[in-house]
């Protein structure tokens, strides 16, 4: 668990920013997007495109009263053309990354053969694309599940790696919370009878593809509001530029149309205008890359605004009753004996329980000789036997498992059940733990106390969340005493003991009534109403269809702690938008000081005083500002797509940092950039 950045996590799929294919495709798309039909959607860049057309035409129409030759108009029109291309490119790159992911998903969505059960009970082979809602199909070992549905009969393991990237198969069975299957996933063992729940083309996979492709992308509320501001600033500068010739003509001089267009393009917020949609698409994409599918951009935006998170205790805050915390000897056996027996049962047990036994034993410095387990037979855990262990080559049998299962096994081997076993196991149960009996041959040696353990790093995370102004509420079915202990240990702000799904809705409504935005995770059908009520409802992919339908995000890895990362991504998205807007607007100061004196210098030589950057000539000054204005867009594409660095600290610290970097930086960088470009241009002029 990283302390530094919450956003990065091992499950995030890395992808380099500019792969060759991606860049190529993005370049092609950048040209396609030049069509006015697309451009009108982005009024700021559309104005730049119009500016390009005007200067382009002016370049070939003989001009009177122009101070600059027609070559100037040609150069300006080329720079403007490139500016528009750069903006389109930024958007195309962001989209391309989504598309690349969609393509992977599409491969999963190939037509498969479905074995449909007819009314007469016979099985017919049809194409999966012909399946309708309500059809019942049979899927056997090794076959792909032809569509989204619910298991109505059977129990089987399913490989969902095509969607989740997680290679370990998951168990699916009829009834309960593990009955939903996704089309395109593979049955690894046994067979299932599945009822299809979606019409063709509306499957989860279809929707996911549409989402990551950005086909369904709609501007989010904040994006629309920001666009309004940017358009109004554009209008303001349009007024400034359009009225300027009236003032100069009163003073008996004129400014070239090309120069006026250059001024306008420099002043309107082209940087953020060109990057805004890329930021939005990339934000969604970051969520997807994190194996979370957000149903809308609005959901990601809301994630940034979350005030309260409701977390289930088990599986989210704690590992569940799975960590060995104590070895309790029974029947006059000593500590060492129990631990040694426990280590034998666990030495080949890869489950968290097994590993925790080895770790705890290692802390007590107890190991078993390696040669003793040579050629030993591993007895895996089975649902029927409810125990696991090891048969050594010397004939010794070690077992650990549920207390009653071990008891029966020992009795079957002709052993006796110690009197203090019952007493100790009850004591552990009362503490909220799980007892696991350990036996060797026909004797029970003791009990492993499996304790509900808070996941490492959770406390720090909750501290960080508190620093970000986010409250955490833990929900658990435990009794108030146990709940309080865990709550204190984990460092959550509040908890609800013996909670029911209705309690969750109550809490959400109460928080929302106080103006707060609430996030929660859930997987069961009875979580669905709360998931729907929450502002951000992260459903687990392993959960029921009802839960997935109700939430506005689905975590394909089914890791409920991810809600914290999702919030960080939401915040990062908003911050990136704000930082680049601030940067873009702050740029205007330098651009003004480059262009305004240059515009007037021919008529009013004294304006040289305002040329504080000491630019070479009026023409070079205007071109430098314009070139800077163009290249800053691709220069910021990586930032727009990756997002600005987010650290879970208080808003004031965040603001100070971002203001310094993007506000002050936005004032200073263009001064330097324009000066450097001017020095280069000087060589050619």
């Amino acid at each position: 668990m990283e302390q530094e950045t919450v956003v990065h996590n091992q499950s995030e799929k890395k992808m380099s920013l500019f792969t060759k294919d991606l860049t190529k495709q993005a370049l092609v798309d950048a040209f396609v997007k030049l069509h006015p039909k697309y451009m009108v959607k982005n009024p700021i860049m559309f104005i730049v495109e119009i500016g390009f057309l005007i200067t382009f035409i002016l370049a070939f129409v003989p001009q009177v009263n122009e101070n600059n030759g027609s070559w100037f108009n040609i150069v300006v029109s080329i720079i403007l053309f490139i500016t528009v291309l750069f903006a389109n490119f930024a958007e195309a790159v962001a989209e391309g990354r989504g598309k690349a992911q969609a393509d992977t998903l599409k491969q999963t969505k190939q037509d498969t053969i479905a074995f449909r059960l007819t009314k007469t009970g016979e099985i017919e082979e049809i194409s999966s694309s012909q399946l309708k809602k309500g059809d019942i199909v049979v899927v056997s070992q090794g076959q792909l599940i032809p569509g989204d549905g619910e298991v109505i009969e059977g129990i089987a393991t399913v490989d969902e790696s095509a969607i989740t990237g997680e290679s370990a198969p998951v168990l699916k069975e009829a009834g309960g919370d593990f009955n939903s299957v996704t089309g395109g996933t593979k049955v690894v063992s046994d067979h299932l009878k599945v009822e299809i729940t979606n019409q063709p083309g509306e499957s989860f996979l279809d929707r996911m593809i549409a989402l990551v492709e950005g086909a369904d992308r709609q501007k989010t509320p904040n994006e629309i509001a920001l666009n309004t501001v940017l358009i109004s600033l554009t209008m303001v500068f349009l007024i400034v530029v359009v009225t300027l010739p009236f003032f100069t003509s009163y003073l008996n001089f004129s400014i070239d149309t090309g120069v006026l267009i250059a001024l306008l393009v420099c002043l309107i917020p082209t940087t953020i205008g060109g990057l805004l949609s890329a930021i939005g698409i990339a934000g969604m994409d970051r969520v997807t890359r994190f194996n979370v599918v957000a149903m809308s951009g609005k959901a990601v935006e809301s994630a940034g605004d979350i005030n309260t998170i409701i977390l289930d205790k088990t599986g989210t805050i704690t590992f569940g009753n799975r960590m060995a915390s104590e070895f309790v000897p029974v029947n006059r056996h000593n500590d060492i004996e129990v631990i040694e027996a426990a280590v034998y049962t666990s030495i080949n047990d890869g489950t968290p329980e097994g590993r925790s036994v080895i770790e705890l034993a290692a802390e007590r410095n107890i190991h078993v000789p390696e040669e003793s387990v040579k050629d030993a037979e591993v007895i895996p855990f089975k649902a029927q036997t409810r125990m696991s262990g090891l048969d050594l080559s010397n004939g010794d049998q070690y077992r650990k498992g549920a207390v009653d299962a071990i008891r029966r096994w020992v009795e079957a081997n002709g052993g006796n059940v110690p009197v203090d076993l019952q007493q100790e196991s009850e004591r552990i149960s009362k503490l909220g733990g799980t007892p696991l009996a350990v036996a060797k041959n026909n004797q029970i040696y003791g009990i492993i106390h499996l304790k509900d353990t808070v996941k490492p790093g959770m406390r720090e995370r909750f501290d960080q969340l508190r620093e970000m102004g986010i409250r955490t509420i833990m929900c658990t079915g435990d009794n108030p005493l146990t709940a309080a202990t865990i709550a204190k240990e984990a460092g959550v702000d509040d908890f609800i003991a013996e909670s029911t799904p209705e309690d969750k809705i109550e809490v959400i409504k109460r928080e929302q009534a106080a103006g707060k935005l609430v996030a929660m995770t859930g997987d069961g059908t009875n979580d669905a109403p709360a998931l729907a009520q929450a502002d951000v409802g992260l459903a687990m992919n392993s959960g029921t269809t009802a839960a997935k339908e109700a939430g506005n995000m689905v975590d394909l890895d089914s890791n409920p702690t991810k809600i914290i990362e999702v919030i960080a991504i939401g915040k990062q998205l908003l911050m990136t938008r704000g930082a680049l807007t601030t940067f873009s607007i702050s740029n205007d100061i330098a651009k003004y000081f480059a262009i305004v004196p240059a515009m007037f210098m021919l008529a009013i030589p004294e304006m040289e005083v305002l040329n504080i950057m000491n630019l070479y000539s009026p023409t070079s000054a205007i071109l430098s500002a314009l070139i800077f204005n163009a290249i800053i867009i691709p220069a910021l594409v990586p930032l727009a797509i990756k997002g600005v660095t987010y650290k879970p600290v208080s808003s004031n610290q965040l603001l100070k940092r971002n203001l310094l970097l993007y506000g002050l930086g936005g004032v200073i960088v263009p001064f330097i950039g324009i000066k450097v470009i001017d020095m280069i241009l000087q060589v050619f002029m």
Binding site: I239, V240, L654
Partner: protein, 558 residues
Amino acid sequence: MVIAFLSVIFTLLIVGVTLKPFGLYMAHVFENHPTKLDKVFLPVEKLFYKIAGLKTEQQTWRSYVMALLLTNTVMILIVYAIFRLQGILPLNPTEITGMDPTLAFNTAISFMTNTNLQHYSGESGLSLLSQMIGILFMMFAAPATALAVAIAFIRGIGGKPIGNFFQDFVRAIVRVLLPVSILFGVIFIALGMPQTLHTIITANTLSGEEQTILRGPVGSFLSIKEFGNNGGGFYGVNSAHPFENPNGLTNLLQILLMFLLPASLPFTYGKMVGNKKQGNVLFASMATIFVLFLTISMISEFQGNPVLNETGIEHSEGSMEGKEVRLGTAQSTLYALTTTASETGAVNTMHDTLTPITGMLALGNMMLNTVFGGVGAGFMNILMYAMIAVFIAGLMVGRTPEFLGKKIEGKEMKLLALTLLIHPFLILGASAFALFTPLGSDGISNPGFHGLSQVFYEYASSAGNNGSGFEGLGDATPFWNISTGIVMYIGRYFSMVTLLAVAGSLVSKKVVPTTKGSFRTDQPLFGGILVGTIFIVGALTFFPGLVLGPVAEYLTLK
């Protein structure tokens, strides 16, 4: 010069200590708290309600706007009629004839919008009736309207019901404008201003000539002229006239009065939204800009005019062209900056003859109309900039923007964007139009860069509802009367309507609790962001124009 600077600091200190208590008093008034003064005020207010048959129930923002627009427009019509008919109406001892239609149009709007752009000459253009009903009445009604709207706006964004226009209007007059005006009126009369209905006296001068001197109810006129940020002078030369500004003390009090309403509103606001720091930050930001502008202006004025200096004219007292010797450079500069900052428009010096840099900053004050801006209107503009600053910078803390715990979303942003547009549109658009037609450009007395400044000044003054002029402009023509009339009207009411709509939209929104993750608008850091936003989003808009006007003039003077 040291004494001059000290006098400025002394004046500002006196202003400084009065603002906060007065702001808190206004909060008390408009939160309708019971007070001991109710015994005096309540009967007066009830009388008003009874006479006019007014109801004081809560209004929606729409009905508030309707009430505001209707009452103001009706008042404009009545006053227009009085101006036109003053020749045949009573109280016309000097037999002044009815006013020209475009001039009456301009003057009626001018006084109703708190602008007091006087295209007529005060003492000879209006009868006593016009002065008292047309002018003096409007001088109360206009600031009362603006104050009421600002208060309604504050209530709305603070999440409280908008209030009732008529009640706010009456309370503004009875509890704020009248008591202070009466108090200062008495003081001004005691300090030597005339207060009489016998207007003309004839004096025999030392050289044996006969001189006609006009008098009138100057004292009572003056206190509301300054306090209500009206600025219209009883005399044409305004507060440069010895009867309208007899001495240093009256000058100081006038400066105090100009600041009193607009600069104390941040404190009223802080109190009314339940977080005094919110107001303090706004006040500090505005005060910083004001002091910055003032300092630069003082330096510029004391350097004198380089062209005149070269001729060997003594300039140890600064650039004295167009200034009253009685008042001196420092107090005149302070007055000029105060009157433009507070959008009052009273003048004790000829703004036309300010050095270019001072002229530019005076112009800048009006173009921004936020430092501190006219009573009510200016404060609403500050809040508009605050909301825009919150919207842009607020995202940088990783939350969608909130102001006072309310989400600023698309709908509010649309209204704010429109409000942001209107000021540059009016000033730059109208200036371009005026320069385009000979009707406008013929009025310019100094061609060249200064002429451009004159035109900018006229429209900035109109749009910002200031009312002072770069007096060189020949503006008493139908073109100027009509164009500035329209600019004044739109400049006044457009933003009032849009911003009340913002308040109406915010009032019903849930308040998001402030946490460590919230964007804080009650911290000094926000003050910095606000000042930056005002400069980059507001001031830079006018940069090219200012460069061609005052800056070019400054550069070519050398």
